[in-house]
Amino acid sequence: MTLTEKLLARAASKKRVQAGDNVWVQADILMTHDVCGPGTIGVFKREFGKTAKVWDRNKVVIIPDHYIFTADSMSNRNVDILRDFVKEQGITYFYDVIDDPNGHWVFDPTKGAMKRQHGSHYAGVCHAALPQKGHTRPGEILFGTDSHTCMAGAFNEFATGIGNTDAGFVMGTGKLLLKVPETMHFRLEGKLQPGVMAKDIILHSIGEIGFDGATYRAMQFDGPGVASLSIDDRMTIANMAIEAGGKNAIFEFDAQTQAFVDYRCKLNGTNPSYEPVTRDKREKFSYELVLDLSKLEPTVACHPNPGQRKLARELNAIKLDRAYIGSCTGGKTSDFIEFARILRGKRVIIDTFGVPATPEIVHDLQTARWGQQTVWEILVAAGVKMTENAGCAACLGGPVDTFGRMNAPLKCISATNRNFPGRMGHKDSQVFLASPATVAASALTGKITDPREYLPA
């Protein structure tokens, strides 16, 4: 069996499963957020009754993160719906925007978008917050009401995005009927060259198979090249499996996975026990690709979808209005570090927005020092508009007052994951997806720029 088949067989209490089988799978975690949580709760109550209880109050994890720092009253209301439900159900893991369990969340626009407005429990973008808060464990099954839930495949678990109705079903029963996907095999060899990042690996892979090339399928990443990739790198790759239509992404378990997961579970007092899945000698794949990482170059997905692959150096004629770094895909500490390495001591010449994925990342950047300055100060000095209000922000547009949202038909280069028409706001805007390094170099020149020309010596 492939890694994905082994995970699903175990969760279905079966010895074997194969691609195409329909199996009832036991969930380990159900994650929801402020955009799909209220609807999921609505389905749960409608179907199981007003007094129904969730299947396990320790396994429903609620992370408001999408439309938080907005004066839109419906958005603020939706965070309150989550809080009321958490109180009613006694849910253990709720990362509220405010500290008062009886309060109401109201964003204050007069304080501006940059200064921190959240309380001490807030965790930021769910996919980056889940591992930081000790909710990703090898061998488990994670369902989330968000398509980028597949990011947790970096931790050797089965993780996939589902809708509100399915999530309402899981909330009440802990189970879901799934079709076992075929597995596509991506064997990574070699090491990335300077200036080339994990984002380039996944943009290249999507370009290779097409933007619906993994529809209904699992994407398994393994091989000797994985050892050189950090946990952040693996998360970036797994995150964008959905951008090829994938059901899930899956990485092997290794010493790095173990160190990360053990530390995070201990730090947060979450369940520390888990059982990884390892590769069988015989695996059936529907597709195989060997990728030599040392041959990859900085890659860009052009408007209007993540499959429009080009090399950054081929796009130097494209003038930009804006640069953006943030989101689950591109807003991690390591992303900002690479971004800052290129911008240090220089000045961006187009509007450039930085939105860390989580408050912990904000803290990392505000405490890591390079010489006299923190990384945060280096970015601000370079002209980047950095907000302390970690969240999904303009990656998916959001309400019109969202930080960094494109409210005009602009051209933007972005470290995020999607570039469909209107994704970051205006219907006629254009988004080019690239690595944090490529976004940084492009912010310096105002055109799409290969970052290898701008690497510090």
Binding site: I81, T145, G163, Y216, L396
Partner: protein
Amino acid sequence: MQSVFTGPVFVVRDDIDTDQIIPAQYLTLVPTIREEYEKLGSYAMCGLPEKLYPARFVRDGQTRGEYPIVVAGRNFGCGSSREHAPIALGAAGCKVVLAEGFARIFFRNSVATGELYPCESSERLCDVLKTGDEVTVDLDALAVTVKKTGKVFKLKSLGDVRSVVDAGGLFNYARKTGMIGKTG
């Protein structure tokens, strides 16, 4: 159970993602609240750029459209897992989407909610039909008949999922078949 649907089609091309079906700014609406469900219908497909799609799926100021059938190319419903997408289409009066192919989560959400039948066509109907063309879709005969020309196109079978949509979605189906208890 209704298995024949007749009316004008709304035609879109490949890779229509959920942001175009229901732009992210309207995800503040909660589909299980009645008035907000109807509101979602009024915004269905409003993310389609006007330059490419001058005819609108739902006219300004209306909550429902006049197209019970949507015709699409490849990868319809790609992108986010937002269930608001099939719900917005359903709330606007769409009963069937005929596409060359669907993205996984959209397909699953269409079935789980019972909002619409996601049918794969054997031919690329978005090249053959124009917005406003009248057709009849027969789910039993797996056929689409174009009124003007009388031409018939084949549909692929919905298989097991047909009965889930027939039942009105995952929960009704699960109760009917004893997967979960009758009372909830």
